[in-house]
């Protein structure tokens, strides 16, 4: 479903990715933890096809159409309304009108955005904008989700709702790669866990029933040079 083989990439002299390989099957959620500059965002960009790696290859079944992305930028047009944004992105992904309307209603409801459908994105708070970004990422029913710090700016209820959404997606067979600082939020959703440092996967293993505290400990050990 999602395959990464020997990915290598560098920015100038800095090695951002150093021989990263893994494969994910439907239903798996990989949580990638790592300090700043470890190459997590680069990894996602390479997986998404935004960056061509110096070496190695990444393959996602279904191509770009199958990918939903949440990055550091919301990728929304601040001068348009929430509804218009969703409509634009859905149309770009060739989502049929009926499906779009159904999904839009569903997502707006679940993310608590119904009241804001006709509001300009510019007028929304950071947390609300993040929710709209989530809606944008999911509007075309992607099989693969690439998420970079998606919980940023979300309050407790929104984060909880989002977590549930993701769990449902996984249950329906989606593949998710989740990059985050937040060990708690990441662990709960993950089926597999990877620690990343200086472009390498220092450790990648199934979660195997560990809880957030275990993961945090393992992470600390792995990343501090253990």
């Amino acid at each position: 479903m999602l395959l990464a083989e020997g990915l290598r990439h560098a920015y100038g002299a800095v090695q951002a990715l150093d021989d990263v390989s893994f494969a994910l099957q439907p239903g798996q959620t990989l949580a990638v933890f790592g300090p700043n500059g470890a190459g997590k965002t680069t990894l996602l960009k390479v997986l998404a096809g935004l960056i061509r790696p110096r070496a190695g290859r990444a393959h996602i079944e279904g191509g770009r159409r199958a990918v939903g992305w949440i990055g550091h930028q919301p990728q929304l047009y601040s001068q348009l309304t929430v509804g218009e944004n969703l409509q634009f992105w859905a149309a770009l992904y060739d989502v049929p009108k009926a499906d779009f309307l159904r999904r839009e209603d569903d997502l707006l409801l679940r993310l608590g955005l119904q009241a804001y459908e006709h509001k300009l994105v510019r007028e929304l708070s950071r947390g609300l904008v993040q929710r709209v970004a989530i809606a944008r990422a999911l509007i075309h029913d992607p099989r693969v989700l690439l998420l970079d710090e998606p919980f940023t700016g979300l309050d407790r209820t929104a984060a909880e709702e989002f977590r549930q959404l993701l769990a449902e997606q996984a249950a329906e067979g989606r593949v998710t790669v989740l990059v985050t600082h937040n060990v708690e939020e990441g662990t709960e959703l993950a089926t597999d866990v990877a620690f990343m440092r200086a472009g390498r996967f220092v450790e990648v293993a199934p979660r195997a029933g560990r809880d957030a505290a275990d993961i945090a400990e393992a992470y600390r050990r792995a990343v501090s040079g253990g």
Binding site: I51, Q79, A91
Partner: protein
């Protein structure tokens, strides 16, 4: 693919229509220039017909530069370019969409400017309206096509607003010169065949550069 281009164009125009600042300033500038030049000249010394083509094209060029400056600015300020690149749309359709939006913008200003120009300068354009519109259309397509391509590149550089006009200048001058000459010939009532040579050059320029930009655009956004 055309459909995707149209989606991008529609989105751009929707945003532009919402704020309206750019198009209004372009129209106001046009009116301003026409008024100033009209009052500034001595009607007995300089015939309107001599000065007219240059003035007309100055205003149109400014409108084009305004359109081009905001074209990719929109994507950059919203940081939505990555989103567009992630979507299953071909890069070239993004270019096409931007081009259409820019052309619509400039065309609007020209549609307002041309009648005003005829009015203020007392120039008879109706007998040559067809060929004149053709000249305007061809020249506009020419420099907007190249400008849209370049604005994709300059957006991410240092001194972006300064660099775009500098890069664009050598590519704008030939179509501009040909357009001014053709306009002058038409307004002076010269036979159509005289303007014909310039029209052919403009058409050739458009075909070459739109095609070129279409194929080169992906190189400016991919990594």
């Amino acid at each position: 693919m055309l459909r995707h281009a149209w989606l991008v164009a529609r989105k751009d125009l929707l945003v532009e229509f919402r704020s309206r600042t750019a198009i209004l300033s372009a129209v106001v500038f046009t009116i301003l220039v026409l008024l100033v030049f009209n009052f500034g000249r001595d009607p007995t010394a300089v015939a309107a017909v001599d000065l007219a083509p240059s003035i007309l094209w100055v205003t149109f060029t400014f409108a084009a530069m305004l359109a081009l400056n905001r074209a990719f600015h929109l994507e950059l300020e919203n940081q939505a370019l990555d989103g567009l690149l992630l979507a299953p749309v071909s890069r070239s359709s993004i270019y096409l969409g931007k081009l259409i939006a820019n052309l619509a913008f400039v065309a609007t200003v020209e549609a307002v400017g041309l009648p005003l120009f005829a009015l203020f300068f007392n120039v008879r354009i109706t007998p040559v309206l067809g060929p004149l519109v053709l000249v305007i259309a061809l020249a506009t397509i020419g420099f907007v096509a190249v400008g849209t391509l370049f604005s994709a590149m300059t957006g991410r550089t240092r001194f972006a607003e300064l660099l775009l006009p500098v890069l664009l200048l050598p590519f704008m001058l030939p179509p501009l010169i040909w357009a001014v000459l053709a306009t002058a010939a038409l307004l002076a009532g010269r036979p159509l065949s005289e303007a014909g040579g310039w029209l052919r050059l403009l058409a050739a320029f458009d075909i070459v550069f739109v095609t070129l930009a279409f194929f080169l655009f992906p190189a400016t956004v991919s990594e």
